[in-house]
């Protein structure tokens, strides 16, 4: 019961702050709402028993990526709001209509799968989570079965870092 209350509260906060992120006029406020949204997503991870992911979420997203966004928002000091320029060829209503169509489809899929519950997925689980901690488990998987993807991810981050430096440098 308390889990349900926590879930609904956290979900409401996540969705509410997400709506605020995309509707606020001021970009700085938008970034700050994004921080709050990420923090509530981290709370949801804790609720799901993924404490390591919650810590990563706070460190990488709320601590790193959002600060990057704030830097860029501060660097591009906008003399005129970007929304002021109206492109006559832009079809915002079409974009909204397409989004609503996809939302309806997703709702239909949800209603359909709610009417026919899937066979118990938990029964298909090969092995129950051992009693060791969540971090230990994730680390074990990362450094054994998923070692090569892990190394590729590190290479991707290195390439992205070099690319960002090259892009942001005024003259090379």
């Amino acid at each position: 019961m308390s889990q349900a209350i926590a879930f609904y509260f956290i979900s409401a906060c996540i969705l509410g702050f997400a709506v605020l992120v995309i509707t606020t006029k001021d970009t700085v406020h938008s970034v700050l709402f994004l921080v709050l949204d990420f923090l509530f997503v981290a709370a949801l991870y804790v609720l799901l028993g993924a404490q390591f992911l919650a810590a990563i979420q706070i460190l990488v997203y709320a601590g790193g990526i959002v600060v990057l966004y704030l830097f860029v928002v501060m660097l591009v000091n906008l003399k005129r709001p970007p929304e002021a320029h109206q492109d006559p060829h832009r079809r915002t209503n079409w974009g909204l209509a397409l989004s609503v169509a996809v939302l309806v489809e997703l709702g239909a899929v949800g209603a359909y799968s709610y009417a026919r519950p899937a066979p118990a997925l938990a029964a298909a689980a090969t092995s129950a989570m051992p009693v060791t901690g969540n971090t230990e488990q994730v680390g074990w998987l990362l450094y054994t079965s998923y070692l090569i993807p892990f190394e590729i991810a590190s290479m991707l981050l290195l390439v992205a870092m070099i690319g960002a430096i090259v892009l942001a440098k005024r003259e090379l």
Partner: protein, 100 residues
């Protein structure tokens, strides 16, 4: 009782908010933040199934998603800065140099 369906509906709703942000807003920084929301929706789905199946592989994939999101944010914001230095705008309607 909170079932995976609840988490999937939350994830779908968050995904849709991100998609609407990408489609409707013109400020490219807001569009990048909407993409982060979309990636978070994917992560919620992965971790909900990881908890449901009692299998930590979903969390490993969520870590990869976060790594890709960090790379995307760094490169994308670098592109925004480089573009802003040349054109003094972050409005995607004015970013039509490569439009066919």
């Amino acid at each position: 009782m909170i079932t995976p369906t609840h988490y999937m509906l939350l994830s779908a709703a968050l995904f849709m908010i991100g998609v609407i942000g990408v489609m409707v807003r013109r400020n490219i920084i807001i569009i990048f933040m909407s993409i982060e929301l979309i990636l978070n929706a994917v992560n919620i789905n992965l971790i909900a199934f990881s908890a449901q199946l009692q299998n930590a592989v979903g969390q490993v994939f969520a870590i990869f998603v976060i790594a890709v999101a960090a790379a995307e944010a760094a490169v994308g914001l670098g592109i925004i800065l480089a573009f802003y230095r040349n054109k003094e705008t972050v409005n995607i309607d004015e970013m039509n140099l490569m439009r066919w």
